[in-house]
């Protein structure tokens, strides 16, 4: 406290002196930096680890490693993603629709997943949690959009241009890239029908991602389920039921 008081006293003395001597020094905090030879050290490549911190990390590291290497199921063949109707796209869009329907306790007519949203294929053989993280590194949530006829039409227009599959529906792409014979469930789609079609989709796409701007105006219903967890849960369920992990192109998109 003695030191502190004397410092404060000296500052007062300095201020008086400065005000008398140089008016420009009166500003409360002019930068008064002066560079002396730098005292900072560059860290060489020999930077060692702090053992306390390393020990704190170790059990977490082991848990992460164990979880990432956990085998969730077996894929007889690689589940690829490719332009047009894709095995991986169908696989994810389908499980997304099923899961959303369970979460909301009501039928969900359609499921949408773009190729861009899926970051890598599922390799043949054991499918690990690490694979699911590579496929879906984002914290995307499954949401449900209640879309009127014209928005559903825009979705199929978008899908037809790239021959993308949509879960819960079949359609045919015309020679000029337009959708026709759209069936949702068993029903022929009628754009003018006064109703809403629930669509299971990621919150990323629902907010207009991948240029799905036509969804932006619809307020999503939340499921609070992360898409990544939904994928992992689905694969675990398949394994429990003794089923392999498979994604198939089943002709939900027909091209003329």
């Amino acid at each position: 406290m003695v030191l502190f008081d004397s410092l404060r006293y000296r500052r007062g003395a300095l201020l008086v002196l400065l005000v008398l001597a140089t008016a420009c020094q009166r500003a409360p905090y002019t930068a008064t930096a002066h560079f002396v030879p730098t005292t900072s050290q560059g860290v060489s490549k020999t930077q060692a680890e702090d053992p306390v911190i390393a020990a704190l990390i170790a059990p977490y590291h082991d848990k992460v490693t164990a979880q990432m290497t956990e085998v969730l199921g077996q894929a007889p063949t690689e589940i690829r993603k490719n332009p047009g109707e894709s095995p991986l796209g169908n696989f994810v869009a389908d499980l997304q629709r099923t899961r959303a329907s369970q979460a909301l306790g009501q039928p969900v007519a359609l499921g949408v997943m773009t190729n861009g949203g899926l970051r890598s294929a599922l390799p043949a053989g054991p499918v690990t949690m690490g694979n699911i993280f590579e496929l879906m590194p984002f914290e995307n949530e499954i949401v449900v959009l209640d879309a009127p006829g014209p928005v559903v039409q825009q979705l199929f227009d978008y899908a037809a241009r790239i021959k993308m599959g949509i879960s819960g529906a079949t359609y045919t792409v015309t020679f000029d890239g337009m959708p026709k014979d759209i069936k949702i469930g068993d029903q022929l789609f009628d754009v003018n029908q006064e109703r809403l079609w629930p669509i299971a989709i990621s919150d990323y796409l629902a907010s207009g991602g991948d240029n799905m701007v036509f969804f932006k105006s619809i307020t999503p219903r939340h499921t609070n389920i992360l898409l990544r967890n939904a994928i992992a849960d689905h694969i675990r369920l398949l394994t429990k039921e003794g089923k392999p992990v498979e994604g198939k192109v089943d002709g939900r998109v027909k091209a003329n």
């Binding site: 000296r10 002066h34 900072s40 050290q41 060692a48 992460v64 990432m68």
Partner: protein, 314 residues
């Protein structure tokens, strides 16, 4: 003029001379030659759950970073320097499975163990919502400084503070925090009833408080506003903040993951110079600025600054 020569010319060239002049005067007035008080500021931003170094084969940053190495480096510096402040500018969360699995628990534990003095909130620190953030707070033994988010209508009311004053050998250092606008960046249900307040107005209030009643000798802003946004002229960022608000000595920035080679000096209203620094992301670097406070004046003089890369052991 490039940034480095701007810094030299403006800070070293003109102000440097007056600083040396006043040092001499002070010594004469005091009649005693005392060693200046030194303050070392270490800082990180956007560490993004990078607990371990980037794995080998992961591209540009492979082998860089890692909490255990950063901790050792901080310890080495603390062993040599009497007055160290260790600060972070937000986005502690999100980026590796450690966050997905443990929700930020390990990140806060490590920061506590390393002796962080304060952090602010980044947009990704809301990624598990207000509840997710609240759940991890017991793992943090350091304060969260955030002046422009009003949490009073949320479950986190009273959990954060706008600023904190640190005292080192009688030198008072005021640190306050500023966060980026959450709407449009963070999903609404994740920030709930948190109210975003204008950063410029808030910063002015903070400076008034810290320079006035709190009698601070150095004012530092932990900012998660971002270094600059070229394509959004109306968006606030650190360069603009420094130019519009008088009296901030140092802005430790984040959000834009900007690698600044040297702190950048910006002249604000009244000619006060504000230094801005940001050291990339993921703990690839540890920022370091050394200040000297001349006896009697207690005015800060920046002695040196460096970006300290956290590298692989070879």
């Amino acid at each position: 003029m490039n940034r480095r020569s701007f810094l030299r010319n403006s800070v070293l060239g003109t102000a440097g001379l007056t600083a040396l002049g006043s040092l001499a005067t002070t010594a004469a007035v005091a009649g005693v030659a005392k060693a200046p008080i030194k303050l070392t500021i270490l800082h990180t931003n956007d560490v993004h759950s990078r607990i371990e170094p980037f794995p080998e084969g992961s591209g540009q940053w492979a082998g860089m970073g890692g909490a255990a190495r950063r901790a050792a480096l901080i310890k080495e510096i603390r062993a040599k320097e009497a007055n160290v402040l260790l600060l972070d500018s937000g986005d502690v969360f999100q980026g590796t499975p450690y966050f997905n699995f443990f929700g930020g628990e390990l990140e806060y534990k490590l920061m506590s163990q390393m002796g962080y003095d304060a952090t602010t909130l980044g947009n990704h620190d809301f990624d598990n919502g207000l509840e997710g953030l609240q759940r991890q707070l017991p793992h943090a033994n350091f304060p969260f400084l955030i002046a422009n988010y009003d949490f009073s209508k949320t479950a986190l009311a009273g959990r954060f503070q706008p600023y904190k004053v640190f005292e080192k050998q009688g030198v008072r250092i005021g640190v306050f925090g500023l966060g980026i606008e959450l709407a449009g960046l963070v999903s609404e249900r994740n920030f709930g009833e948190t109210v975003y307040l204008d950063p410029v107005e808030t910063a002015r209030k903070m400076v008034t408080q810290l320079r006035g009643p709190e009698r601070c000798d150095l004012v530092i802003c932990l900012s998660h506003l971002g270094y600059k946004f070229d394509n959004s002229p109306n968006k606030i960022h650190d360069l603009k903040l420094a130019a519009e608000v008088a009296g901030i000595d140092l802005i430790l920035g984040g959000h834009t993951h900007t690698f600044l080679e040297k702190p950048e000096a910006i002249e604000g209203p009244g000619g006060h110079k504000t230094l801005i620094n940001q050291v990339g992301w993921s703990g690839i670097n540890l920022g370091r600025l050394d200040y000297e406070f001349a006896p009697g004046s207690k005015r800060p003089g920046l002695a040196g600054a460096a970006v300290v890369p956290v590298r692989d052991v070879c």
